[in-house]
């Protein structure tokens, strides 16, 4: 069979796509967003949730963030000793933790870099605001997102690494 020139083949592709879109059995690849919604995949990067108890205000996320859009303020304080008769522990008390989603580019570096499992991805994506200033999520709001964080998927069978758990 003689080879069909690429230019003619290209016309065929667009024509076929058009017929496919118009056929009742076919339909477009897209959905009409506000009326229908697609289910985001469980590991989708929608919004970042903060588990406040785990955060030690180590500042790693804030310093690694390429956009400098994480604001952390903390002060040192003494926590009661773990065992009776021990010394009081010195801990960092988080005063403010905020992510400015009008700057964030959802690179996920902060989640990756956090050594204390305090930041998590949630697939929730509908948090647009009328005013851009409202995109600054303070730690209360970031904490609320924790409920929407799905459980980690189990590792492949035979993996030696211990599966991680989302703190609830």
């Amino acid at each position: 069979m003689p080879k069909v020139p690429g230019m003619v083949k290209g016309l065929g592709v667009t024509f076929r796509t058009m017929v496919e879109t118009l056929k009742p059995s076919g339909g477009p690849a897209t959905v009409q967003y506000p009326h229908e919604k697609e289910e985001p995949s469980p590991r989708a990067r929608g919004v970042i949730a903060l588990h406040e108890e785990n955060c030690t205000a180590c500042m790693l996320c804030s310093r690694e963030c390429p956009d400098w859009c994480i604001y952390i303020e903390a002060h040192k304080t003494l926590a009661p000793p773990r065992r009776a008769g021990g010394k009081p522990r010195q801990v960092n008390q988080l005063d403010r933790f905020a992510i400015d989603y009008s700057l964030c580019m959802y690179c996920g570096i902060c989640v990756e870099v956090c050594p204390f499992e305090a930041l998590f991805w949630s697939p929730e994506y509908e948090f647009s605001e009328v005013s851009i200033a409202d995109l600054l999520h303070e730690k209360e709001r970031l904490g609320e997102w924790m409920e929407t964080v799905p459980d980690f998927e189990p590792y492949e069978a035979g993996s030696e690494a211990k599966g991680k758990k989302v703190p609830r």
Binding site: V13, T14, T17, T21
Partner: protein, 345 residues
């Protein structure tokens, strides 16, 4: 034109007034139709999406809404622009489009002005738009606009030649420059002695038809020949500085010109308003004619936009080489062969 339909004798100024009004309503409508049917709907389908859905039933009023939006926008003229030329450029482009419509026949009597040199006139006024585009590019005092304008200038001049040479083949065969005579020649023609279908020139002039389609694609600066307006290279080219209704003028000019070229192609190669089986002399032809022409235009426009939505952009040197090394010699050969055959047969 009007006398025959309404059987009323009209004075010259009345006829002119009617013609102007019809043209003023018709031309933006053609741009709207092409924009909605092809740019919004067909392009979306070819990209496996649905296109606009919200404005009006099934999104059909989207372009009207966009037009209203453009009218509300602030009219910005760059500080260092040449104000007069900047303002005049869209008008020149639109005027060139409007003038092309003068010689388009929609029926035996439905034509704004049946010039004896119709197709020559159309080619001449359609190349006027180059002037408008160069004016826009030069006066914007913007390097992207200037680059785009010069690219458009080079491209439009290069493709004007094959366009005219392709038309020459049809003109030689029809023996006339008048659009009406070209339609008549196709209606009176016969294929192998069988006259029922006439002789649409697309059959004898298939090479010219191919060259014509390629050349109008370039004349309309549409992909794959959209170097002058390439967003990723010159961010819109000559109209980068235009906002509001001036931009709307360019948009209207682009699509109305596409419609006009499709109409010229339909007239030259597909028989224009003529339908097999309907006596071209009867009054019925004046009613069926516009519908037939519209259907043929839509077929040609489908081809134009199909190419537009399928192919990626040519490089500037490929574009020039294609015009000068392939299209023009091909068109010249077509003219020579047509000429010999017309004389011999």
């Amino acid at each position: 034109m009007s006398e025959l339909i309404f059987a009323i004798e009209l004075a010259y100024w009345q006829q002119t007034l009617i013609k102007v009004l019809v043209a003023a309503v018709l031309i933006p409508t053609t741009a709207l139709i092409l924009g909605i049917v092809f740019l919004f709907k067909m392009m979306s389908w070819m990209q496996s999406r649905m296109g606009p859905q919200e404005a009006g039933p099934r999104g059909l009023l989207q372009l009207a809404a966009d037009g209203l939006k453009f009218l509300q926008k602030e009219d910005i003229i760059p500080d260092r622009a040449d104000r007069f030329v900047f303002k005049a450029a869209p008008v020149v482009v639109l005027a060139s489009t409007f003038l092309t419509y003068v010689i388009l026949p929609a029926g035996p009597d439905l034509i704004i002005e049946n010039l004896p040199t119709g197709i020559f006139f159309a080619m001449a006024v359609s190349s006027l738009s180059v002037v408008g585009v160069l004016m826009a590019g030069w006066s914007s005092s913007n390097k992207y606009a200037l680059m785009g304008g010069l690219r458009a200038g080079g491209q439009l001049i290069a493709y004007e030649l094959p366009l005219i040479l392709a038309v020459m083949g049809v003109v030689i065969q029809a023996g006339s420059l008048s659009m009406q005579d070209i339609v008549w020649a196709q209606a009176d023609g016969s294929m192998f002695g069988f006259g029922g279908l006439g002789l649409p020139f697309v059959i004898t002039q298939i090479v010219a038809f191919f060259i014509f389609m390629v050349a109008i694609q370039a004349e309309l600066t549409q992909p794959p020949f959209d170097m002058p307006v390439a967003e990723s290279e010159v961010v819109g080219g000559f109209h980068v500085e235009y906002t509001g209704f001036r931009f709307l003028f360019f948009f209207l000019g682009e699509f109305a010109t596409a419609f006009a070229f499709a109409a010229i192609a339909a007239t030259l190669f597909l028989g224009g308003w003529w339908v097999p089986g309907i006596d071209p002399n009867s009054a019925l032809a004046n009613i069926v004619g516009p519908i037939a022409l519209f259907v043929k235009i839509m077929v040609v426009a489908f081809l134009i936009f199909w190419f537009r939505f399928t192919y990626p952009r040519f490089r500037e040197d490929q574009l020039q080489r294609f015009a000068w090394k392939y299209l023009i010699p091909l068109a010249l050969a077509n003219i020579t062969i047509t000429g010999i055959l017309v004389v011999v047969l």
